[in-house]
Symmetry: C2
Subunit: 606 residues, 2 copies
Amino acid sequence: MSNSNECLISRRDVNFLLLDWLQIESIIEHAPFTDHSRFTISATLDLFESIAKAHFTPHNRKNDEYEPQFDGERVTLNSEIKKALEAFSEAGLMAATQNEDIGGMKLPTSVDLAGMAYMFAANAGSIGYAFLTKANANLLLAHGAADLVDRFVKPMMEGAAFGTMCLSEPQAGSSLADIRTRALLMPDGRYRIFGSKMWISGGEHELTDNIVHAVLAKIPNSDGKLPPGTEGISLFVAPKRLVDLHGNLGERNDVALAGLNHKMGYRGTVNCALNFGEGRFTPEGEAGAIGEIIGEPGKGLAYMFHMMNEARIGVGLGAAAMGYSGYLHALDYARERLQGRLRSARDPSTPQTPIIAHSDVKRMLLAAKCYAEGSLALVLYCAKLFDETRIADKAAKHAHALLDLLTPVAKSWPSQWGLAANDIAIQVLGGAGYTRDYPVEQLYRDNRLNPIHEGTHGIQALDLLGRKVARGDGLALLSERITTTITAAREDEILAPHANMLDHTWKRISCVTEALHALSDVDERLANATAYLEAFGHIVVGWLWLDQARSALALRASPEADMDFISGKLQACRFYFAWELPKIEAWLGVLDPVDTCTLAMKDNWY
Amino acid sequence: MSNSNECLISRRDVNFLLLDWLQIESIIEHAPFTDHSRFTISATLDLFESIAKAHFTPHNRKNDEYEPQFDGERVTLNSEIKKALEAFSEAGLMAATQNEDIGGMKLPTSVDLAGMAYMFAANAGSIGYAFLTKANANLLLAHGAADLVDRFVKPMMEGAAFGTMCLSEPQAGSSLADIRTRALLMPDGRYRIFGSKMWISGGEHELTDNIVHAVLAKIPNSDGKLPPGTEGISLFVAPKRLVDLHGNLGERNDVALAGLNHKMGYRGTVNCALNFGEGRFTPEGEAGAIGEIIGEPGKGLAYMFHMMNEARIGVGLGAAAMGYSGYLHALDYARERLQGRLRSARDPSTPQTPIIAHSDVKRMLLAAKCYAEGSLALVLYCAKLFDETRIADKAAKHAHALLDLLTPVAKSWPSQWGLAANDIAIQVLGGAGYTRDYPVEQLYRDNRLNPIHEGTHGIQALDLLGRKVARGDGLALLSERITTTITAAREDEILAPHANMLDHTWKRISCVTEALHALSDVDERLANATAYLEAFGHIVVGWLWLDQARSALALRASPEADMDFISGKLQACRFYFAWELPKIEAWLGVLDPVDTCTLAMKDNWY
């Protein structure tokens, strides 16, 4: 059986993606990243990798076998989760991207996410707490008052509290306009919150002394009624335990666990329903969870999207990392496992061949390589855009617009195709892959969450087609960057055919986009949004593969060039253009003209 | 939460498929099926359905939660498995397709498999024992001597023994040429068998007094060496307990459990490694499991394919049934669950809509309907072909050739797309679908086995392209039947565009097939066999959808026509031709000319 620590993420690939392809050294020439160098980046990645291997991989299976338990009083988790997260915080990785004043090292997000890829590959369930905590802290830093930062963000950065995001309710999942949780202003400026929240990851545990819930709730109108729709939605910090103005932990807040969810995978991360304000933890007549508002009333949804967008990139990263690890496990197995012979050399008296020699196994591994490395490249590309938004120059605005456009793609493409890599990994291992003796089946179960949470696949599609490609400069900027890659790639005889194909498909989807936006019927325009998302994503990743191939080719000139690595990138690019990009025609075919099959379908016809 | 018994298989659809579409009444005009009538067929389906609901559905989740345990002495299963299988046998369903002399009712296999679909939908883990037993009995009936039938088949048909198939070994899974299990002839004509078998479903349990293992082993040459390759592979009955010539159960045979496999799903069916002849159950010096040969030495592999082909159709059936049940659960949930509003009517003060009104949910449900109903149609089509092989007329030979061709498709297409229906079902339920509170996640895990066992997806591809389309009349006969459907469908204005599209794609794949067979390099010809299998399967199922639509349209004339049902079939056909069939171009694109990406890929490039 393979050593899981050898099958997380290829460091060779991470170095290529960050340094050769994304040229992250150009980022660290600018504030706020100027403390960094190629050396510190490498050392930080080493740190992530070593913590992943020492503290996270070893209990990944155990998280699956011993899921969180609730005895009516407290939630019990596999005890190794706490130790692993302590090691993570103590190494300074919780605050890695922050400024020094809250214990950070001003690490570029691109490097941070590359490091986090190791954590997700090692143990998504355990690192989930840290990921949410980092995103929660970033939300408070962006929109919270200074005292909220002091009292809540600092403990989170030290690992003394973990964060959550409380959006969904039993009757309101994708439709946040329908939340019913209410926040009533108290004379002291704080609020009392009442309502039920659903699907809260990290919602209850004893890993830390406190849990910082970021809660969406509506402030009622003067008539006591909740405003309709997204109006009046505001955002609150409602911690598990109250924190006084000096940062001291006080009494238990009125936030009660209503029940745990028992999941197919991703079991290390406790997920639960929470009741705010049912009065379990407060004297009679004083029910209501104490909440402090973040920013201004009525702007909660916009603020929450700060965290949501980060979480969506994080979902993409987790999906990429799990797909990547599955791919490496399959590769490892395919090199060791002997079975059969090539059709052209079937003499049964000869030894069997490693299955990696069979073309169908090569196909599966090439597809998995395209999905895994392509997903990671996409997420790191977006992370670099995020870094660019923090650099005070004219590129920041462009980066922001592009990131806005690409976020639904970075969330959905890895969720779909990283999972496909996990499916392939099971298939490469055959019967062995279907047993719990190998890690690939757990990766497949764990990764199946990613197309669901933080906005389902279908919601990402509506976001992309209904909003992102319709507004701002994102699409024009993307077109410019794709064209730049195409023009450069045409100079190389290996890449020119791919460049021409990308040019063709990009023009094709641009026409489709225009045709869709010319439609006056919004239901029709968005009817097949998922097909659009999938085609768009496949083209974007095709562009990134072509761009990776360009960077790989450029490395050939060096005397220390790793020719195997370069050949692998080129072959994956070739495979992607031959096997993957042609898939888009089927998706585009239902978009222009819009196929109305789904719209016309009636409930009682099923 | 939905009632699982309402979400197995649509009886309305089964009636349509068997009676209206396949016109099974034309089968029962012929021996050996003449005892049957529309009435007995309906009553038998009722019986399957009622036993599935009363005895199988109720413990499906429990099978998952309490997987088989081995304490070193015996294997313990969830006790409800035994009771359910007793009810199944007592109702006469184990022997349903057999002649009266062994307790059967000469049921057409098409009806038997339609009934078995309910069992697989209700509880694949439990019915697995019965399915293997039926296939094992059919193998012995086809190739075993009369006394083997008396001593082994009869007890199986009464539910007193269950059957297995023992092919794989630790070093020989897909490559049966490499088996090392040996069978040594004893003076009394029986054999002593020595070797290790792997992945044996139903290999050890106490559900029945005996287990009838069908075991592949090689008979050594006179020099004591095993012949190379598939030469000398013979087939033996080696029961768990010996059976004397009068059918009495005797001592324990030398077949020992080596260990249980712990699977991701399908846990009700125990799966294990068995050691034959290690001497655990025999006096010293008498090791070797006693085996009796089936048929002639050296023909074991050919005989085993009798069982294997039945098992492959059975895998397709199970995959279809699980996909079908997932689809119905998703449909049920989508009708109940309120969330959001249509884009064109977003007034947040109005009530939320059932999610089935959202076009993306309609899309998912239409796709799942196409996969589930299309899979079941494919398997029942093959079952009818099997029935035709048993009717003594000239159609039998044709049916045999077609069945031979379509078996890899009937195994692989439902395994791939039925599983896709299960994936969709999770997505429709969203977070709920990812919890173990709903059955869709278990269906997804259970169904993931099907692309692996009884010949992986890749093995089916080699079988189709390397053997089945290259020999015999199968392809010509299929072409004839497809052309018949196309010609007839062209007469209808709704179906004519689909007929033209099918005509085009069928001509296209016929050209590809010819081009591939013109290639002299066998490695190149078969390099992308999986793409061929997937394209071929999608076209075949497209043909069956068009043919179903034809039958549905013909029903309109009746005054009792169920217009909703008919509209659903037509809309699914329309969806399939708009969304699914266009996928084949991407697969065919790598076949003609053959894309050599995979062949050229090198191990150290990954």
